[in-house]
Point group: C2
Chain length 428, copies 2
């Protein structure tokens, strides 16, 4: 049993400050819970002015990674974000037999299998509860609580920024640009929102969840990714009329020996709990063959919720150190193929701008029929009299993505069709 | 590292059969996950005919507890239910240094602190994820994932039978007896439904959750318990008109150095997620100072979901055995006082049957005023012309339970008041 557990923090940004506060403000409680003193030894941070804001002794800060990681270090908390130098520092730390706790979704999505193997080889662990879903326990439930199940699907709202924007578009009838601007004003979206808006963040997270759920390495390149820039307020109105909400859904499904992993704006039936997860909240639904559907919901971001996840991992690592045990190594047990999106079978929502003249629908319907894509509902409502165009919304029955894409290619060639404005998949 | 992990199952009822099936049908997968063969050695069960239904070798069954637990046993799965002999067998098993996995909420609610201490003393653990919330991970998240938080409240729908009945009453306008009869027909309620209907089951479960959340022993006697027999279909109509759903809510709240733990029919604001948890589903909402509100939802009962929780615990114990480690002992760190219900401050829903004559409301309003209980809303609608009585529904502003009870005592004495038909607390 170590006399104390020495922790080094890499990065004193918003999350890092929350962690530093928890580590110092609750030192006594945490030490009591793990049975040994838990000590914040050093902080890697260039901006020395951040010490005061975080309420830590400025003497703990150093801008030199080597210095930060020198000497007696048991647990390294990596909160630098981004791929480099985070990846390199994590690798070095694991190689030196230190536990690593990280919130870094990019590093875990890109290098998870390698880092997990490296941790196991060195008798330690890399813990990353904070990389997905902020303060919602989801990594640990997948690794431990649901481990007796064969998991068939993960469906998740795991980007708070886009969920906030979509909620504003749906509730207040805002268009995308207005909702984004408001999200930026309120601090829900960054000045450069690309990472959230275009689904990169959600793609990293679902790659991590899918890897755990199916015990197979899922690479970030395996994730089909689309963002939410193409949505308009009217899409939400049409969706509601059809009985759906629109969410940026991350979906990972297993079918036999293959998986499909995707992130895109999705129509979710209104009576599903995921359809009711609004604002900046996150939610993850896991379906296992024993437990059925289990839903985890809560704050998916923010300094305090993320600190909750990080400190849970830190205390877990600290308990292992105090007990002097090795962690049980995580094992990938499968190497599943990734099904291309062309093989997806679901229902589709298609919004078209067409010439407002007789016979238009007949031509479009023929294109659908030619590809065996069956139409379930047609809505024709909004007409632009000046431009002599009309808007047509089509919901299909179950169809294969490939056939729907071929249909749309044919539809685009029709002289009466001005454009295929939007195309969304249904899930649920 | 043991050559294999030997498991004994106590009880081959509905849950036990599910566990036996999982243990045998997935022996290879589970052995792979824990790194050693996992073997079902013996089953304690009087009814030998149950072997066939569960698909196990009848030779594994014995009606003799001593025989079942003799020899090399690493993990004992207790699924007998009820206090005795379950408690005694668990105690013996822990004393002999065996891990115990149990779904027994009664034993854990009544003897949890003693059994946890006994397990720690013997270097093993007693795991009870299946005792609350069926297949929803909730015990382990409280012990591990939320352990960096100071938890302020647990609010839960943890009895599927009553939630099914209340959902039918709310959706279909059924009265209690009709909804109960349907629940019994469909197997959601037992022939003798007392344990569920009167809140005993939920009280055991919330005592377990509160003990973990606040790290203080909460005894079953500390839980204020009321059932749902007094509810009528019209209560749901009035509640809806006021913006609420009615749920059998288990609530545990910490305030400074005391806790309040209660189970009763409760008005929950319609826009809360807990209000939308319908049918036989369970949901638990935990509020921590770091993570905020986190919600866990899923199937709260049933053979397969409960097997998921039991097998997660079994695999956890098996991993510890394979690694040769001692579990980190759970520690109670507080001994909090229990606040009497009289000190509760919330809003109240009161339904009265009164004489249909002038001046009635004035007398009732005076009684409320006398005790400083402020009325927020009054609904007077349904009138029984034959009996010359009317129905009055009153919602109060925030008030103390003690004052409301004193008010109702005074109201009952009013000559124009036929009866105080119902009295419900609001939460949220």
């Amino acid at each position: 049993m170590p006399a104390r557990v020495n922790v080094v923090l890499l990065g004193l940004g918003v999350i890092g400050s929350g962690v530093a506060r928890a580590l110092q403000g609750r030192a006594e409680i945490y030490s009591q819970r793990i049975g040994a003193p838990l000590l914040l030894r050093r902080i890697l941070e260039r901006r020395l002015d951040r010490a005061q804001a975080a309420g830590v002794d400025p003497a703990l800060l150093t801008a030199d990674a080597k210095e930060a990681l020198s000497g007696d270090v048991d647990i390294v908390i990596e909160l630098l974000g981004g791929e480099h130098p985070a990846y390199d520092l994590i690798k070095d730390s694991l190689t030196q037999g230190r536990y690593v706790v990280t919130a870094n979704k990019e590093v875990m999505a890109k290098h998870g299998p390698e880092l997990l193997a490296l941790a196991a080889k060195n008798g330690v662990d890399i813990l990353y509860e904070a990389s997905v879903g902020g303060g919602i326990p989801i990594i640990s439930p997948l690794k431990r609580d649901l481990c007796a199940n064969e998991i068939s699907s993960v469906r998740a709202i795991i980007n708070g920024t886009t969920n906030y924007i979509l909620t504003r578009m749906s509730r207040d009838g805002l268009d995308f640009d207005a909702a984004l601007a408001q999200a930026q004003d309120l601090g829900y979206a960054e000045a450069d929102p690309t990472n959230d808006i275009d689904g990169h963040d959600a793609a990293y997270k679902v790659a991590i969840l899918a890897s755990l759920a199916f015990r197979t390495p899922v690479r970030i390149e395996d994730v089909h990714r689309e963002g939410i820039r193409g949505l308009a307020a009217r899409d939400f109105r049409y969706a509601r009329e059809l009985g759906y909400a629109i969410k940026l859904l991350a979906v990972a499904r297993r079918e036999d020996s293959s998986v499909q992993v995707r992130v895109h704006a999705t129509l979710v039936p209104e009576d599903e709990l995921l359809a009711k997860v609004d604002g900046a909240l996150n939610a993850v639904e896991i379906e296992g063959d024993l437990t059925g559907k289990v839903l985890f919901q809560g704050a998916g971001a923010g300094s305090l919720p993320t600190s909750s996840a990080i400190m849970a991992d830190v205390l877990d690592a600290a308990r292992a150190l105090v007990l002097g045990t090795r962690p049980f190594p995580w094992r990938y047990t499968a190497d599943l193929a990734v099904t291309p999106l062309a093989q997806l079978v679901t229902r589709y929502y298609i919004r078209l701008e067409v010439a407002d003249q007789p016979g238009v629908l007949a031509g479009i319907a023929r294109a659908f029929g030619d590809h065996q894509v069956s139409i379930a509902t047609v809505i024709q409502k909004e007409t632009d009299e000046a431009a002599q165009t009309a808007e047509l919304v089509i919901m299909t029955h179950q169809a294969q993505e490939e056939a729907v894409q071929a249909t749309l290619a044919q539809v685009r060639e029709l002289p009466q069709v001005v454009s295929v404005v939007n195309f969304l998949r249904v899930d649920g």
